[in-house]
Structures are given as structure tokens and as C-alpha cells.
């Protein structure tokens, strides 16, 4: 005996609630419905077209529902096999054409409405994303403006302490006092300064310096050894101080968090939001600033140097020198990508300023470098 391949589900009072699988044949006069022969006798029923009523049903209203009352009572047949439905529509007499058309229309309507709704939703989401993309900077600025300096300081402080805990700090000596003098010269020129700047010199060959939100600045001895003068270090610090003053770090964090938060919400992943808070400390240390933020920090840094009567040409030459040499661990460049355009922009800006009579630092830079080299040698 051939295997039974049902193509429809039949419902009736003696059948299970999930329906009895059955094999529907469309014939000239109507349908024959054969049921699985789990009992010895094979059963089949016949119904003529004239007894049928048709409609659409099922989860997506995409199944053809046939109802009739036969000798065995009320019967409901669910057809979803497209071939059977097609054959049925071709064979059905005229009086079923209108209801069949209505059922088909219903399916089309449901599909159409669903497509419309989803395209509308897609459109709204797209508009929202585009709006966020282009309006993000404005939103970020608004959000950052609402964050109090104390929060910013707490945020920066914890990352600062975590970072310094694993570092070899230069606690005293001429190098430290030189950096302190530079910091003091610069910060004295900041009007209405809400930050209490804290600068630490870290013993490391890495050519880098960075600023954390809240006014925490780290300068590596590697950077100081690369510099030919105190003015050059002052240039880098002026730039870093301005990242803090312009709250660039916060802007980046808000932007990154915002993006991840939106994605997490969209994908329904609350775990991601929890993880975000923990990520924060790590993010702070690996922050990269945007091109516009770099330019802003360059220009305001330049102005700060000018007000502090520190020769700004040191800043420009140092930046250029750092970008030319592709040696060692120039970390500062990886987070502050240098371009000829940036240097040119600074030169043009400087040329437009009135001539400056710089006031020299009290330290001798050659001695500072010497002390660093010596201390590093003894340290190793």
C-alpha cells in the first residue's frame, strides 16, 4: 500500500482538535476527502460543490476554509497547498466564484496591509536613524551640556586612578616641576575655569599624552624625551587641556553610549545596557577624538598658548615632527592623527595673530631631558 500523503486538515466533532490529516481530491462534482487508515477500514467522504461555503482563515488568513454539513455532521476543511487551491478554483462552479474571489481578495488585503504597515515602520525607522545620524551632534551637545562638572570629574577620576595604579609615576624631580610649571602657565589663562587640572608624569617610552574628562591629564616621559623644548610639550598640553575644556571626551562617550543604547533597545538586548556601564572605564582610555574635535582643540590650544605667552611655533613644529617620523611607539599620533592640513591651518592662524613676545620658562629643557634619560637608565 502506498504511503499516505495528506494535503489538508479536516475538523469535525469526532476528530482531534488539531484536525485530522486528509487527502483532498478535486473532482468534477465536488471533493473527495480520504482519511488516514490507521484503523482497518479506509474512510473517505464526498461533498458536492453545491454544499460548500468558502472563506479565508488561519493565522495569516492565507488558508482556504471550506465548510459544509454532511451526514457525519459539520465539517471544516483547511487547505493551504497552493496546487490544491488552484485546482479547486478552476473546478469550482459559478456560484462559488464570487466567494472565492472574496477570499482571495481578503488574502491580498491582509498581505497588502502588512506590507504597507511594515514599509511605514521601515520608513519611520529610517527617518529616525537618518535624523539621529545628522542631528546626533546637536543632541550630543544638548546632552553634554546637562552633565554637571562633578559627574565628569568622578567619571574621569575613576578611570585616571585605575590607569595610574598600573603605572610607574614620576613623583618628583625637575621633569615633574617642569610639567607643573607648564600646566600652571596654561591654566592661569583659562577664564572661569571649572576644572581643577591634575597632571601626572608617567615613566614610559610611549610617545603619548592624554586627557580624561574632568581635567585629568597624563604625560608620558617618552613624549618629553622626543620634545626639543618646553614649548613643544606645552603645545601638546595646550591641545589636551582644550579637549577637556571643550568636553570632547564626554561628547564621544555620550555619542558611543547613545549609539549602543539605541542598538540595544532596538534589538531588545538589555544585557548590553548593563554591560555598557562597565565598559565605560575602558572606553575612556581608548577614546579617539573626531577630526572636528581635533581641529577645535588645535585652535583653542593655540590661542591658549598665545595668551600664556608661550611660543606656539613649538606646537606646530612638534606636531609636524611627530607625524614625519614613523619610528617607535608614536601613540599620540594614533589617537591624534596628524595631517599636513592641520599644521597648515595652525600656521595660518598663527600668522594672523599679532606678534608675540614670548616669556621663557624658568627650567632648562636640556636638563629636564637629561634627568629623564638618567632616571630611565637607573630605573631599568
Amino acid at each position: 500500500m502506498t504511503e499516505f500523503h495528506p494535503n489538508a486538515l479536516c475538523f469535525g466533532h469526532e476528530f482531534p482538535a488539531s484536525g485530522a490529516p486528509c487527502l483532498v481530491h478535486v473532482e468534477d462534482h465536488g471533493l473527495t476527502i480520504a482519511f488516514a487508515h490507521d484503523t482497518a477500514e479506509s474512510r473517505s467522504e464526498a461533498v458536492s460543490f453545491s454544499d460548500l461555503t468558502v472563506s479565508a482563515g488561519g493565522q495569516d488568513h492565507d488558508q482556504l476554509v471550506l465548510k459544509w454539513t454532511g451526514p457525519q455532521g459539520e465539517r471544516t476543511l483547511y487547505l493551504k497547498n497552493p496546487d490544491v487551491i488552484r485546482t479547486f478554483r478552476q473546478a469550482a462552479p459559478d456560484h462559488l466564484t464570487a466567494p472565492l474571489e472574496r477570499a482571495a481578495e481578503r488574502v491580498r488585503q491582509v498581505r497588502h496591509r502588512r506590507r504597507m504597515v511594515w514599509s511605514a515602520v521601515g520608513g519611520i525607522v529610517l527617518a529616525f536613524v537618518l535624523g539621529l545620524w545628522f542631528g546626533a551632534d546637536l543632541l550630543v551637545e544638548l546632552a553634554v551640556a546637562r552633565i554637571p562638572v562633578e559627574w565628569e570629574q568622578k567619571l574621569g577620576e575613576s578611570a585616571y586612578k585605575d590607569f595610574l595604579a598600573q603605572q610607574d609615576i614620576v613623583k618628583e624631580g625637575i621633569a615633574r616641576s617642569a610639567v607643573e610649571e607648564i600646566t600652571h602657565r596654561l591654566t592661569a589663562q583659562i577664564p572661569n575655569n571649572p576644572y581643577k587640572f591634575e597632571v601626572t608624569v608617567v615613566k614610559s617610552d610611549v610617545v603619548n599624552a592624554f586627557a580624561l574628562p574632568g581635567g585629568y591629564i597624563v604625560v608620558f616621559t617618552g613624549l618629553m624625551k622626543k620634545a626639543d623644548s618646553g614649548e613643544e610639550v606645552a603645545g601638546v598640553m595646550g591641545h589636551e587641556l582644550n579637549h577637556v575644556l571643550q568636553r570632547h571626551g564626554l561628547e564621544r562617550i555620550v555619542k558611543q553610549l547613545g549609539l549602543v543604547a539605541v542598538v540595544s533597545i532596538v534589538l531588545g538586548d538589555q544585557q548590553g545596557l548593563v554591560g555598557l556601564a562597565k565598559q565605560l572605564g575602558v572606553e575612556l582610555l581608548t577614546l579617539k577624538f573626531g577630526r572636528e574635535q581635533e581641529t577645535e582643540a588645535d585652535l583653542t590650544g593655540l590661542q591658549l598658548l598665545y595668551r600664556a605667552k608661550i611660543d606656539p611655533s613649538g606646537m606646530i613644529s612638534f606636531f609636524q615632527r611627530l607625524s614625519e617620523k614613523d619610528e617607535g611607539r608614536m601613540e599620540w599620533l594614533s589617537t591624534h592623527p596628524m595631517s599636513q592640513g592641520r599644521a597648515d591651518r595652525l600656521k595660518a592662524e598663527l600668522a594672523a595673530m599679532p606678534k608675540l613676545s614670548p616669556a621663557p620658562f624658568t627650567f632648562e629643557w636640556a636638563k629636564v631631558r637629561e634627568s629623564l634619560g638618567a632616571s630611565l637608565l637607573t630605573g631599568k
Partner: protein
């Protein structure tokens, strides 16, 4: 393939006996123990994108595991993550079930599983998310629930109302609408039910006796907060 539920009740397991060469698809991580003749392969049902969309959109595990009795007949023990009952169903090739994302435990290789997008209103308010699993084909399908599983049988045009977070699986011949639990919006939410689904037969609806979301909220108050 023969399957049997061990320890019926809150902490059941399923024993599946596989003939040589036979295999079964299971939710990743569902295997508890197996004969040494059974190999575990992880498989991305529906290809990488299909698996990725299932992971992202239904929250279902990224991979299914395939347990194959490649070196002779053997048996596998499977268990769900949450306490609750297991139900074994035989799909006959025409019956099709829609299953809420956490409801699938295992299925014969001939059972096909696909993600299906719901309509907007069902997705937003139905409590199962926008994507559910559509399971069809022929063979054994094993579902699990949170709490006990209860089967509601609906005759043609018979209606029944189910709190949406208690849904496990329902046959494709049923249809449902999302409704407010009470006549007013405020009463709907203060009654603690929010939205309910009005199912219309024919077909069967499997529901679970516990609501995972509510259980999560209840248990949250006992979790110590660090700091």
C-alpha cells in the same frame, strides 16, 4: 526515532533513542548526556543569515546542535534551561505550529524551523516579539514550557482568551487578535493583564502555567545589588 519523557513534572528530561545514522536537531545547550556513539555537530539552520536573523530577531540560540548516531544506535538525554514541562508531538506533514521563541527544545531532522515575522500589532503587543518560529514538516517535535503545559482544544469558530505571555505554541489553523484585557486602557493595565490574545479555532493552543516575565520581575527583588 523513539522519544520518552523522564521525570515528568517540573524538572523533566527527554530520552531520544536514535537508530544508527539517525539524527535530531536540538536547541543549543540542550544535551545533557548521550551514548558514545552519538556525535554533536553544531549547525546553523537556514544558513548563516538565517541563523543570524534567528539569533538577533527571535533571541533563539544562534546554533542548533545536531545529535547524530553516526557510529551505531544510541540515546540522547535532552533538557530545557527553565523548570517546566516537556511535550512531545508528532507532526504529520500538514499540521503546522507557530512556536514562541523559547518553546522549541528539539525536533527530528525532517522538521523544518523558520523565523516568521508577525504583524506589527501582534509583534508589539503579543509579548512574543516580532519574530516567532514556524515549525512544519513531518516527524517528532519536542516543546518545553515554563511551568506546566496546558493544551486548549478549539472547535471551529470557538474562541478562547489567553494572556499573551503564557503562550507556547499554537496551530496555524487558529487565528488571533490582540485585545486589551479590560474594556478601558487604565483598567487593562491595573488588572495586571495588559494585553490578551483572543484565539479563534479550529486548532490547539499550548499555554504555560507560569509567566517568565513576571517570574523575572519577582525574582529581581531578591538579587543582591553590588555596592
Amino acid at each position: 526515532m523513539k522519544s520518552e519523557i523522564l521525570y515528568p513534572g517540573a524538572f523533566p528530561m527527554v530520552r531520544v533513542e536514535l537508530a544508527a545514522g539517525e539524527h535530531i536537531k536540538a536547541e543549543s545547550g540542550a544535551m545533557v548526556a548521550s551514548s558514545p556513539t552519538v556525535d554533536i555537530e553544531s549547525k546553523m539552520e537556514g544558513g548563516f543569515l538565517g541563523a543570524l536573523s534567528r539569533k538577533l530577531l527571535t533571541g533563539e540560540k544562534f546554533f542548533f546542535q545536531t545529535l547524530r548516531a553516526s557510529r551505531g544506535p544510541g540515546e540522547v538525554l535532552l533538557a530545557p534551561t527553565v523548570p517546566g514541562e516537556i511535550v512531545i508531538m508528532e507532526l504529520d506533514g500538514v499540521n503546522e505550529y507557530l512556536v514562541q521563541k523559547d518553546g522549541f527544545l528539539a525536533g527530528a531532522e525532517s522538521v523544518s524551523i523558520e523565523s516568521k515575522m508577525q504583524s506589527l500589532s501582534r509583534g508589539l503587543m503579543g509579548g512574543e516579539g516580532f519574530f516567532i518560529l514556524r515549525i512544519s514538516g513531518k516527524g517528532t517535535l519536542i516543546l518545553n514550557s515554563f511551568g506546566a503545559i496546558h493544551k486548549i482544544e478549539l472547535k471551529p469558530d470557538q474562541e478562547y482568551i489567553v494572556d499573551n505571555s503564557h503562550l507556547v505554541a499554537w496551530s496555524a489553523t487558529t487565528s488571533y487578535n490582540i485585545e486589551k484585557a479590560a474594556s478601558g486602557w487604565v483598567a487593562s493595565f491595573t488588572s495586571g493583564e495588559g494585553f490578551v490574545c483572543r484565539f479563534r479555532g479550529p486548532g490547539v493552543v499550548y499555554i504555560q502555567s507560569r509567566n517568565p516575565g513576571s517570574f523575572g520581575n519577582w525574582i529581581r527583588q531578591f538579587i543582591p545589588v553590588s555596592e
